[in-house]
């Protein structure tokens, strides 16, 4: 597979094929990042598309010095942050809060655990993390970025990233273990 730099050069000379190869190469990692951060399939799809459009609009300004992956993820991080601040997010958040309230009335809080849906537990636990901790955990754990890379693309220091990771993972550990214990307790009953 051609290197990212080669693909970018080809895109700059007008190659549609190179654009397709580059987009396909990063589509899934980028979508996964956005999805895990946002937690909604449709919104993640739209945001991923927006991020790729932003990438194309500013591809001429990519300096070729740093890794392309980091550059692309920095666009994604900023775009998701903008989304959190946007009216669109507030609208969807209100709707999901309403849905959650209705659901909680219909089902008990432990309903998810009863269903042994560990995936939902993890998703729930990750989404309960503060934004910056969630961002650091997703980038480190799911995208295997180095702490220094996370610090660069989130425009913060290495120690701050470590602190965010530690706090986030501790919360996740507590939350997920509690979920497991509840699950076991339910099974014993």
């Amino acid at each position: 597979m051609p290197e990212d730099q080669e693909l970018i050069k080809e895109i700059l000379t007008g190659s549609q094929a190179a654009m397709e190869v580059l987009t396909r190469k990063y589509y899934k990692p980028l979508y996964a990042f956005v999805y895990r951060k946002i937690g909604n399939k449709e919104t993640a799809y739209d945001l991923t598309q927006d991020i790729f459009i932003k990438m194309m609009q500013s591809i001429h300004s990519y300096s070729q010095k740093g890794a392309f992956k980091s550059w692309l993820f920095s666009i994604a991080v900023n775009h998701c942050r903008d989304y959190w601040k946007s009216a669109g997010y507030r609208q969807i958040n209100k709707q999901s809060e309403l849905t959650e309230t209705l659901e909680s009335k219909q089902k008990s809080v432990s309903y998810i655990f009863e269903q042994k849906e560990t995936r939902e537990q993890v998703k729930h636990a990750i989404h309960n993390l503060p934004e910056y901790q969630r961002e650091a955990v997703i980038l480190k754990y799911y995208h295997h970025l180095k702490i220094k890379e996370i610090a660069t693309l989130t425009e913060t220091s290495v120690s701050t990233v470590k602190s965010r990771l530690k706090q986030g993972l501790t919360k996740l550990s507590i939350s997920l273990k509690r979920g497991e214990e509840d699950d076991q307790a339910r099974r014993q009953k």
Binding site: Q16, T23, K41, Q57, V122, Y141, Y142, K162, K166
Partner: protein, 275 residues
């Protein structure tokens, strides 16, 4: 061990411990985090995103090919414009040609001075011709056609410049054929310099100045300058100048012409349609 070294060592130990702690935490929740898988969009949905990106891919342009294509279009249009140039222009300039030859052959005028005076005149009169349509209110009509006004003026300028070049070459060659003591290179230098300088000024006028009278004024200035040149002591001074000076002036004027043509082609002109 100094206090500072001790502090540094302690700091390194703290960092290592924190990293270790982080590693334990990762191992602790790692297997659970793996459960959070992602359901990816379908191939059709990914393709839709790719199609949305297509308009953002820069258009492939081969600069050399584009340059040749533009030049070919310009020349083709210039040939077409020949038929729209007033017969008066051709007649007047043919007369200039005859006057130049007569002044040298019959009036025994200095051939270098004569060619220097006459060299830019076809361009200046041609500039009048090029801007004629604007002045006679035809510009708006021309602009409604396929090509823009600036493209049409540029085409006319190419024709006029080409004609001027040809007429000067003919005069130079004729003079050197009949007068063996005339040095061809010197003659060429004496007409190329005022020709390029006045052509550069003409392009600046076309591009910037909004009054037709500016060209008439330039023509008058040049004719007065011609009167000065025709005096033998002045032409003597000009002849004593180093050829390097002429070459430098010609190169500078040539660069101005190229710059102006590029500017006209890319951005168009800013003069008013209804002065």
């Amino acid at each position: 061990m100094t206090k500072r070294e001790g502090k540094n060592d302690q700091g390194l130990v703290d960092v290592a411990l924190r990293d270790q702690e982080l590693l334990h935490l990762e191992q602790d929740v790692g297997s659970l985090l793996d459960e959070y898988d992602v359901e990816y969009p379908s191939e059709a949905e990914i393709m839709m995103t790719i199609d949305r990106l297509r308009p953002f891919v820069p258009v492939k342009v081969n600069k050399r090919e584009l340059m040749f294509r533009n030049m070919a279009v310009l020349l083709k249009r210039a040939l077409h414009e020949i038929f729209y140039i007033s017969p008066l222009f051709w007649v007047a300039n043919s007369l200039f040609f005859l006057v130049a030859l007569a002044a040298v052959f019959l009036g025994e005028q200095n051939p270098y001075g004569m060619i220097m005076i006459l060299a830019p005149i076809p361009t200046l009169t041609g500039l009048m011709e090029a801007l004629k349509s604007r002045n006679t209110g035809m510009a708006e009509l021309e602009m409604s056609f396929k090509y823009s006004l600036q493209e049409m003026i540029l085409s006319k300028m190419v024709i006029i410049g080409g004609f001027n070049l040809l007429i000067n070459l003919v005069i130079s060659v004729s003079l050197t054929v009949f007068y063996h003591h005339i040095w061809l290179w010197k003659l060429l230098l004496f007409w190329i310099t005022p020709f390029t300088v006045m052509t550069a000024i003409a392009f600046i006028i076309v591009n910037r100045l909004r009054h037709f009278y500016a060209i008439t004024a330039s023509l008058m200035i040049w004719i007065s300058f011609g009167g000065l040149i025709s005096q033998s002591h002045f032409i003597g001074k000009l002849e004593s100048l180093s050829p390097v000076v002429y070459i430098l002036i010609t190169i500078s004027a040539g660069l101005v012409i190229i710059g102006r043509i590029t500017h006209m082609y890319k951005r168009g002109m800013t003069y008013e349609l209804n002065p």
